[in-house]
């Protein structure tokens, strides 16, 4: 596009590039350097007070033999493996329900998104109250129906399901993304299918779902990350990892190691596992994406 090499042209080009500078610098200081640091610290004893002491692979051995560590990973996985597909499916079905025209539809959609706007700490306290075994509205409601409700957060068996339950109200983001994806499907497709005699369920399963699947996959990944991290606030305020470590997740382990025990070494070793897990999921996503021939076009970046 440059027809003449001149100083004014060059500096204008450079000035466009300069727009990226704050972003780049920010990424280096806020992501790259901390990430590298956490990779390195895993090989040291460090308590933020005295200088780091070389520890070789001791932290990894400690983490590997630490029962709490493996428990935290199991808990984190169980809070992701089943709940996340459930939430994504729920978001998709809700989007399907709220698709179309209707008088109050925009209001209903806003209502569905509303709980995600509530600060996590406030949401946690709200559900701490709602799930209260004796006076909480949920159990009162269940009792009036005649059921014998569980003790929710106080019961080691029901603690994780309690977290999953409250997470269902925060599928607003997935809902909006699914809605946008549904609207991207041309209406003619649906009309043609109906003319061919497809019922609603067949329409959903054979036509719509396969078209949306890539977006839902991305949504699932994003939701997994989101649940994984955001649940920390909920767990910290509601159960402190209990009862009996039922809700003791990997973020909680890392928090305890790093900020309670000042053991930055083991905390960093635990982070390795986190990076590895994330890397695995990304690799899996990549493989699946190639299977579905998703190119690196903008369309797929409807994160």
């Amino acid at each position: 596009m440059l027809t003449r090499f001149s100083l004014t042209n060059l500096s204008h080009q450079t000035r466009w590039r300069l727009l990226l500078l704050p972003y780049a610098v920010g990424i280096i200081f806020l992501v790259v350097i901390p990430a590298l640091l956490s990779f390195g610290l895993a090989f040291f004893h460090y308590d933020a007070l005295s200088s780091p002491v070389w520890a070789g692979t001791l932290n990894f051995v400690l983490a590997y033999t630490d029962e709490l560590f493996s428990l935290s990973i199991r808990n984190s996985l169980s809070l992701i493996l089943i709940p996340v597909p459930l939430r994504v499916l729920g978001a998709f079905l809700l989007a399907r329900l709220m698709q179309g025209n209707g008088r109050f539809l925009t209001w209903f959609r806003s209502i569905i998104y509303l709980p995600t706007v509530v600060p996590a700490a406030a949401f946690a306290l709200a559900w701490l109250w709602i799930l209260n075994p004796l006076y909480g509205p949920l159990n009162l409601l269940l009792q009036t129906i005649g059921l014998n409700p569980p003790a929710w957060l106080v019961d080691p068996v029901w603690a994780k399901p309690s977290l999953v339950l409250m997470g269902l109200w925060q599928i607003g983001e997935g809902f909006i993304v699914s809605l946008a994806a549904l609207y991207d499907i041309p209406a003619e497709l649906e009309d043609v299918a109906r003319i061919d005699g497809a019922g609603s369920v067949a329409l959903l399963g054979r036509i719509i779902l396969p078209l949306i699947a890539p977006i839902l996959l991305l949504l699932a990944f994003r939701d997994a990350i989101f649940t994984f991290q955001e649940s920390f606030t909920h767990i910290y305020l509601m159960t402190r990892g209990g009862p009996y470590y039922a809700t003791y997740t990997l973020p909680y382990f890392i928090y305890e190691q790093g900020f309670d025990l000042r053991a930055f070494g083991p905390a960093s070793a635990a982070m390795w596992v986190l990076y590895a897990l994330t890397g695995l999921i990304v690799a899996a996503l990549y493989v699946v994406a190639r299977q579905w021939h998703i190119g690196t076009t903008e369309e797929t970046f409807v994160l």
């Binding site: 466009w16 590039r17 727009l19 990226l20 704050p22 972003y23 610098v25 920010g26 990424i27 200081f29 992501v31 350097i33 990430a35 640091l37 956490s38 610290l41 933020a48 809700l94 329900l97 209707g102 109050f104 925009t106 209001w107 209903f108 509303l114 709980p115 706007v117 509530v118 600060p119 996590a120 700490a121 406030a122 949401f123 306290l125 709200a126 559900w127 109250w129 709602i130 004796l134 006076y135 009162l140 009036t144 409250m166 946008a180 609207y183 209406a187 990350i225 991290q229 920390f232 305020l237 990997l250 890392i254 790093g258 900020f259 930055f264 960093s268 982070m271 990076y275 994330t278 903008e298």
Partner: protein, 272 residues
């Protein structure tokens, strides 16, 4: 057909009510008169609803200061985020094709770094920078646009602008920043509003950063104030929920206020 429609409408209404329930329950519980035993049966409203707790929360804690702290954080974080992310998005959109792809891949890679894995090392860095226990530790992510997701949102919006418009602006003598402010940003208005709202909600409700990076109570923001209150009076549910309602009023109010803008663009984008 009409009964189908009625069924659909009823189902939609039911879903909406279900989603409102937790918030409604919060509010009604916060109106429970202090000192009275909690009801053991389901009621729509307490027998003698009172706003007393909303006064008490300001007496028990310096909640006014905490609110101001939260306001300070968003007052800093939102403009910085908007600037950095829209600059980056614009810069990306103006790059040659191959470079664009590289930056998108870079952004996606950064997006996938789990935040949990950055907690403790960011703590060490903030300490080195002297940001520990200051508002800057809370605002820090804004300097990279808070999230590559927002950068990608702006990139998407700016990518659509034809190159001719930028050339025209250049011919009129507009510099890069002027083009950003006068030409590009107005064309990405909905994106900007969305990013502003999302950023506001994020920083207002951020519990983890103040938990990890603040020490002095005077700098606390509302989310950690909730935790302090919880430690002070664990079983005073109405009190805690009043504070929780207070915490959520601002983001919800903002969200409802901005609804018309999103609805308008939704209608434009989703109209069939």
């Amino acid at each position: 057909m009409s009964s189908n429609h009625k069924g659909l409408a009823a189902l939609r209404l039911l879903v909406a009510i279900i989603f409102l329930l937790p918030l409604l329950w919060m509010i009604t519980a916060s109106l429970h008169p202090p000192g009275e035993p909690l009801p053991t049966s389901l009621r729509l409203l307490p027998v003698r609803p009172t706003l007393a707790h909303y006064g008490r929360i300001f007496q028990l804690l310096p909640l006014g200061r905490y609110t101001l702290n939260s306001l300070l954080v968003v007052a800093l974080a939102v403009p910085i985020t908007l600037s950095v992310s829209s600059w980056a998005g614009l810069g990306m959109a103006r790059l040659p094709q191959a470079a664009q792809r590289r930056w998108v891949v870079l952004s996606l890679a950064v997006l996938m770094v789990p935040g949990v894995a950055l907690w403790s090392t960011r703590f060490l860095i903030y300490r080195q920078l002297g940001w520990y226990d200051t508002v800057w530790a809370l605002v820090a992510p804004a300097w990279m646009g808070t999230s590559p997701f927002y950068v990608l949102m702006f990139y998407r919006a700016f990518h659509r602008i034809p190159a001719g418009i930028f050339d025209a602006a250049r011919l009129e003598g507009a510099g890069v920043l002027q083009t950003w402010w006068r030409v590009a940003l107005p064309m990405a208005r909905t994106t900007a509003v969305a990013v502003a709202l999302l950023t506001f909600v994020l920083y207002w409700g951020d519990f983890i950063s103040p938990l990890l990076y603040l020490r002095s109570g005077s700098r606390y923001t509302l989310p950690v104030a909730l935790q302090t209150l919880q430690q002070l009076s664990r079983s005073d549910w109405a009190l805690m929920l009043a504070a929780a309602v207070w915490t959520m009023i601002v983001p919800i109010g903002l969200f409802l206020l901005l609804q018309p803008i999103f609805n308008r663009s939704q209608k434009r984008n989703l109209s069939q």
